[in-house]
Amino acid sequence: MTPTPPPGEPAGHRRTALTIAPADLPMHAEALLEKGYRVALVSGHDDGDRLRAVYLFTAGYPDRRVELHVPLDRADPRVPSLAALSFPSGRFEREMRDLYGIVPEDHPLPRRLVRHFHWPQGWYPMLDDAGEPPAFGDVDGPYPFRTVEGPGVYEIPVGPVHAGMIGPGHFRFSVVGETILNLKARLWFVHRGVEKLFQGRRPHEAVELAERISGDTSVGHALAFCLAVEDALGLPVPPAEQRIRAVLLELERLYNHITDIGALCNDVGYGILNTQAQRVRERLLRLNATVTGHRLLRGAIRPGGTRVRTRPEVAELTAIAMDADEIVGLALDNGVVRDRFAGTAVLTARQAEDLGALGYVARASGLAVDARWTHPFVDRGPQLTVHTHETGDVLARFLVRAQEIPTAVAVIAELLDNEDLTSPFDGARPAEAGEVASGVGIAEAWRGTIVHRVEIGRDGTLRRVKVVDPSFVNWPALPVALADTIVPDFPLTNKSFNLSYAGNDL
């Protein structure tokens, strides 16, 4: 493929920007989507006298990023909906309407998404003049669940408070006997206003916040945030420190994947493998603590560099990977475990593609989606392979994780060893002229592709930070995969997706 040059003016690392009128948006979007771009991020902006919607499209091979800026009238902000062109953009538009009051016209599902039912009507928290949150109460009309009718159909409401240590989510199952006909997941019970908290901070003071967007993805979010800040400010990062960042990213993948493998075994009642997986996880967390001084790898990545105490011992990691491999082997050798995993909650490749699924969910359904390939911040070595499976069931999601463990160890060894791997990042360049500098950071965290987009004002403070966790994109895939699955298999399926509540509900 010889890509035609992307439209617009150069705006940052492999990124161009184009300012267009709202009416032209569908035409531009369609042209980009046809060229293989995906909608990576849509964010609202409050520019004072007017509002602005920014659509970020990304594509790989080679890494390309195109932004469409749509200035909007503050009194009547409206954009044509792209929901018919891209499912994720339909979700982003609903989020943008809830937070900024920017109305997507002709949206097929013009309902609340991010703001919970009891939030006051007409109050948009991300606008600069929004002020303190008003009291709950002014209920925005009824917000019913879709009722499924027929002989023997009944509903099971679950949550938002669960029996175990799980994030708050309400699940409404419509069931015949034990078979799920329809599942509606209603999330967003604990909106924290994370994106608003970023505003006004200096970038190096905001890394702590980025690390806490989703606790189990500290490295992923901190890295995406720092890459975005470096893109905006033109900060160079020494190649050796970029490589250490990639190492930390793989360390985070390791401890989370082994946790999930144990949890999946636990959910089918095979507790012994969970305790063994917890043991391996603990070894990894202690290793993390020796490397960065923090068990969850916090405090190492900073704008412009990375600071670690020691480099991880490859021999120890190899031993851990073999330990994990034994656990995986024992799980797969158990006929009942295999029976519970295989064929459960299938997400087809077509469904995953239509939903724009990311991370291991997409890879388990046969899509080779991996930002380490499409948007590398460190040159890719030969060890980095993308593991995909075709079946899209719980077993496939289990196997993708299992196979990514030895690959992560091999990649770490290669990164620590190979001085030739440098960063494709442009390096130092003068900061953009104009009132604000913008930057985009993309990182393949353990759950999938994280995208951050920052705008930094002349005074050096953050004006706007938009965060996209892969969970936001992947949550709609869960009910789709669960159609015709039985109720007792829901917890297992949910664990195989293991989506973040916190990363989704900012």
Partner: protein, 312 residues
């Protein structure tokens, strides 16, 4: 009239069953590489729950309130009537296998009714699953019972036990072996152990037994937990008594009863530990596979009955 034996049996089962659960959890913990909370933890949990205030959900009826009592009472009746410690008992006339199985089933049914009475989705779901499993388990229990009673010519537990005590060789007969496997699977299903139900799960959507009792709290929950532990003990005790009646007293002298109590504790503990060890290596079956397992155990029961006629 020998009332000492039933009283002793009730005391042993009531006092010992939480310890049995404690031993099983401890064995499992140690095999999984955990320290475990100790054998006395179930008793400590019961003490904690009994001190809490009684509380019942709004809208529940007397069915919900009485179910723990009925569950405990039926289990205690079964514990008193079965010839766990001695074959000479005042309750011997009612120690009929059918009667004991029916009394134990009554407890399960009452608990299912209590689950329905809460009006929650989980209670109904648990009750529906429990009844599905019970309906499949009962035929197996009856088949295995037939197989054991054919040779003795009586369904009286005392008579079957006495016959086995006089002729220990029959324990190794094909009839007996087929029946013991069938009964063991039925017992595992009836007491909610792996691979049918996971007693240690916190996932409300996968629960069977736990889903029915989700709304219980405080002393009521203590009673349910205690009764569940006693049911486990009674079922394992029946298995031990029918297939390994060794050590059961034929007289009612205190020393013989004490010896029998020790033998009973040993047998039930061995069975409980074996179950706990097996559970470490088992995963939970998909709900729709459970009927296949139970159908298999029913078939074994049927074969046991057939064998009892052809190989007699």
């Amino acid at each position: 009239m020998n009332v000492v034996t039933p009283v002793a049996q009730v005391l042993v089962v009531a006092g010992g069953s939480p310890l049995l659960v404690g031993v099983m959890r401890q064995v499992r913990a140690r095999l999984e590489g955990r320290a475990g909370p100790g054998v006395g933890q179930p008793w400590r949990d019961l003490r904690k729950l009994l001190r809490k205030e009684p509380i019942t959900p709004r809208g529940t009826s007397e069915v919900f309130r009485l179910a723990p009592l009925v569950l405990a009472a039926t289990t205690l009746v079964a514990a008193a009537a079965s010839p766990f410690l001695a074959t000479t008992s005042a309750l011997d006339p009612i120690a009929d296998l059918f009667a004991v199985v029916a009394v134990l089933t009554l407890g399960a049914v009452v608990l299912a009714l209590a689950g329905l009475d809460t009006g929650t989705a989980f209670g109904g779901m648990g009750a529906s699953r429990e009844m599905t499993i019970t309906a499949l388990v009962e035929p197996t229990l009856l088949m295995a019972t037939f197989a054991l009673s054919v040779r003795v010519g009586s369904t009286n537990l005392g008579a079957i036990t006495t016959a086995t005590l006089h002729d220990p060789g029959r324990v190794l007969s094909p009839v007996s072996l087929l029946a013991v496997v069938a009964l063991a699977v039925a017992v595992i299903a009836e007491t909610g152990r792996l691979p049918v139900d996971n007693p240690s799960t916190h996932l409300e959507l996968t629960m069977v037994h736990e889903a029915m009792i989700l709304e219980y709290a405080g002393p009521d929950l203590a009673l349910v937990e205690w009764a569940s532990a006693m049911r486990l003990t009674v079922f394992l005790g029946l298995l031990a008594t029918l297939f390994a009646p060794f050590g059961i007293a034929v007289t009612a002298s205190p020393s013989a009863l004490a010896l029998a109590a020790a033998a009973f504790a040993l047998k039930v503990t061995v069975l409980g530990v074996a179950l706990a060890v097996a559970e470490v290596f088992l995963a939970k079956l998909r709900l729709f596979r459970v009927p296949e397992l139970l159908a298999g155990s029913f078939l074994l029961g049927l074969l046991a009955v057939a064998a009892s006629f052809f190989l007699a």
